[in-house]
Amino acid sequence: MTTSLLQVRDLEKRFRAQKSFFQAKQYVHAVNGVSLELNDKETIGIVGESGCGKSTTGRCLLRLIEPTKGEILFQGRDITKLSKVEMNKLRKEIQMVFQDPMESMNPKLTIREILSEPLIAHKIPKAQHVELIVKTLDLVGLSEKHLFRYPHEFSGGQRQRIGIARAIILRPKIVVLDEPVSALDVSVQSQILNLLQDLQEELGLSYIFISHDLGVVQHIVHRIGVMYLGEMVEIGEKEKIFDKPLHPYTQALISAIPKSDPDEVKERIILTGELPSPSNPPSGCKFHPRCMYATDTCRSAKPEMREVEGRKVACHLYN
């Protein structure tokens, strides 16, 4: 077996949640033991509802948030052990695109300046800057005439193109996309999704695609990981998971996608209740209060990740 490009093992992130100095120390487990693998030129989707830890996972991979525990192996090297300087160098290989491109760009810089920043940070000779920038703008469907404009002069879709240009200008191996199309309208969203697929082919990128929109995820990813309250509950190939979701949460999530086909038979599983607070998670399997198959075992023991029907799932139903 070839080693994968990125391997994440038991990633954990705890945030301190201490309300006052005199209180005992409290922790919120935002990410709790997440493992995943990413192969070359592959897209893996991380889905889940708000607060499930999917964005935190994404940020931990670049060490924008320092993980508390766990290993992140990039081409066999554990990047959690790198020094700050080494990590900065490595960020050339792993880049990120954020949800709201307006908020992630300095409004006082022109597009040329925005796109030069990664080049300056990684000490690319100045002579090559313009050529690289123009070439990258061309790749994302913008042109030279946009160079001296400011972010506010662009529409949402164009801004996201700039966000993508900034991420790929250093020709990274991996791009972490954190809800890249959630803020966009449907007609523009499809333009960006197509662009991402083209770039993947052309530049051989691997994507980690974080989203709450299962329709979009189903379209673009190869493999998918479903998170619930900081834990991965099911991970595997897209076809297998969408055809036959095993974890009750995945089942509910997939059945809740509003289908735009009026003739499709809908078997809706409507979950009762809401996501519990991560600072006070339920015992045993964290999904048990909302699960219709919950048994006593689920209330007391945490299910382990197991290989079932060609994917990994953490549920007592499949012991």
């Binding site: 309208d185 007609s187 523009v188 999704l193 709450h212 329709g215 979009v216 509003p258 003739d263 809401e274």
Partner: protein, 326 residues
């Protein structure tokens, strides 16, 4: 069927840097008794402004400059502020996209819902409380008695939207305007809220005007739909026909660019370019420069909204009057 709301040639303008910009341009539609009518469109197409115009909740820069909004037997545009206040919240109520910004953070849930009952139904004291608790239970809020005394920040997004719905249905309105009620919510919660709206509609015999950008939501809950583009209605039909057999090239583009089961592994179709802003509207069809079927005539004249069969009307030069006999 009886019409609850009839909107005719509604035109809303906003004051811009140079003169007025027409944001909603001669919009026509009706909402029948007991149905869910959807308004679909992308950001900037004027769908929210249309809904705000109905209750005349526009801010100072905006004004309704023409048309007629007939609710039951009265023209809402001819009513004074005093009469409108009697209608808002009682006969027609509204829920918004972001429940956090539409709830008052310094009043308890009970107080906020109770306010409407005190105002419109002239109830007092314990009557109000029991009615509020009943409403909270109706919208599926657990521990209604305790939550009566809670503040909005203690609730999750889905719960807050339920509170908004409780507030909106407090006086048994005949029409509920829901402006993107599930956009800020997670899918599983969205399914819960749509389910709730559907059952409330049946139980209370109310009509719903639902504004959304999501065709999935349309398929789930709407009976009929108006598609808006750049301030105009481009297509009106029942939701099944719209999704199965869209007539306007914009509707077709919108449906084809939504990722779904049939598009997996294929390249998504997309509509090139972007929605024009009100100051960019040209002489011709506003969709012409993005339209794959654009013809010569499209750049010169705005196509009329034609009835092309019994329940479908479409604004496109592809459909001619003679062919369909109006």
């Amino acid at each position: 069927m009886e019409n609850v709301l009839e909107v005719k040639e509604l035109t809303t303008q906003f004051k811009g840097k140079v003169g007025y910009l027409t944001v909603v341009d001669k919009v026509d539609f009706t909402v029948r008794k007991g149905e869910v009518m959807g308004i679909v469109g992308e950001s900037g197409c004027g769908k929210s402004v249309t809904s705000l115009s109905i209750l005349q909740l526009l801010d100072k820069k905006g004004k309704v400059s023409g048309g007629e909004i007939r609710f039951k037997d009265i023209d809402l545009l001819k009513q004074g502020e005093k009469e409108l206040r009697k209608i808002r919240g009682k006969e027609i109520s509204m829920i918004f996209q972001d429940p956090m910004t539409s709830l008052n953070p310094v009043l308890t849930i009970g107080k906020q819902i109770g306010e409407i009952i005190v105002k419109h139904e002239k109830q007092k004291g314990s009557n109000v409380k029991s009615k509020v608790v009943e409403l909270l239970q109706l919208v599926g809020i657990p521990r209604a008695n305790e939550l009566f005394h809670e503040y909005p920040h203690r609730l999750s997004g889905g719960m807050k939207q339920r509170v908004m719905i409780a507030m909106a249905i407090a006086c048994n309105p005949s029409l509920l305007i829901a402006d993107e009620p599930t956009t800020a919510l997670d899918v599983t919660i969205q399914a819960q809220i749509l389910d709730l709206l559907r059952s409330l509609k049946d139980d209370m015999d109310m009509s719903i005007l639902l504004i959304t950008h999501d065709l999935g939501v349309v398929a789930e809950i709407c009976d009929r739909v108006v598609v808006m583009y750049a301030g105009q209605v481009v297509e009106t039909t029942d939701s099944r026909t719209l999704l199965r057999n869209p007539r306007h090239p914009y509707t077709t583009g919108l449906i084809e660019s939504t990722p779904q089961q049939s598009t997996i592994g294929k390249r998504l179709k997309s509509i090139p370019g972007q929605v024009p802003t009100p100051d960019e509207y040209g002489m011709g069809c506003r969709f012409a420069d993005r339209c794959p079927k654009a013809m010569e005539i499209c750049n010169h004249g705005v196509p009329p909204l034609l009835m092309i069969d019994e329940n479908t009307s479409c604004r496109c030069w592809l459909y001619k009057e003679e062919e369909h006999g109006v």
